[in-house]
């Protein structure tokens, strides 16, 4: 079993993507999808020198739900800023100290930050301990950092082994 599916979650994702690409759940497509889900990881397993280990994969679902909600809010917030007066915006860079040890977790966090209200990730420090963010309207720097840490970083620490 372990040899057939070196990355079970990856195989599952591939299978789902195959079904979605074909836009059907017909038995033939499902079978072909299983074939691909078995063979593709066998060829790509060497591309992952330190494979991400998910400790609690099911938590990803709740994380995704929070993220989708926040993206909707982010859109409204940014839309208001775009249509509002420009000179009142206080753009600036802030540095976010990172407590994540896993590369994949950092990738997910950077993407999350770019998709949520008024923040875009701009640069990751070489030692991977801090992230540079550009903020559209800085109100309270410390509060923003605490918010990101509490809402996104803590669940990611739980999902990925850290």
């Amino acid at each position: 079993m372990k040899r057939l599916f070196p990355q079970p979650l990856f195989s599952l994702c591939l299978w789902l993507i195959w079904l979605l690409l074909n836009n059907s759940a017909a038995p033939g497509q499902a079978l072909l999808g299983i074939l691909l889900a078995v063979t593709i990881p066998l060829f790509t397993v060497r591309f992952w020198p330190n494979r991400p280990r998910l400790r609690r994969p099911w938590r990803l679902a709740s994380y995704l739900a929070v993220l989708l909600w926040d993206i909707t809010i982010a859109n409204l917030v940014v839309a208001r800023l775009i249509l509002g007066p420009m000179h009142r915006l206080r753009p600036g860079f802030i540095t976010l100290p990172l407590d994540l040890c896993n590369d994949s977790a950092i990738v997910v966090l950077t993407n999350t930050i770019s998709l949520t209200p008024g923040t875009v990730s701009a640069d990751l420090s070489i030692d991977r301990r801090s992230l540079l963010l550009h903020v559209l309207d800085v109100d309270d720097e410390a509060q923003l950092i605490a918010h990101i840490k509490y809402r996104y970083e803590r669940p990611l620490q739980e999902i990925f082994e850290c």
């Binding site: 979605l20 993206i71 859109n75 249509l83 753009p91 930050i113 998709l115 701009a122």
Partner: protein, 112 residues
Amino acid sequence: MLELLTSFFLIVGGLFALIGSIGMARFPELFMRLHGPTKATTLGVGGILIASMLHFSSREAGLSLHELLIAMFLMITAPVSAHLIARSMIHLRGGIDQIRKKSGEQAEQKET
């Protein structure tokens, strides 16, 4: 009824895509311009995709869910390209310390 819902999502999606583009045009500086396409556009495309899912699920036999893939790939790739643009801009302007110094000077000039 379903048509009403479909058109609602189409309009909402189109509106947010438009606002994102207006942001690109209105913001005075490159780093601020990045905020438009990474956010407003995701909901813009999202609205249009929901409309497409509703429309084709009711038209043809079975659910039409492959729009989910477009949303997924967009959510993965949009922040990455924004990150790369921001990064290369920081390097072009001689590092983050230079940028911070300059924006500090500009703020002082504004006050005086």
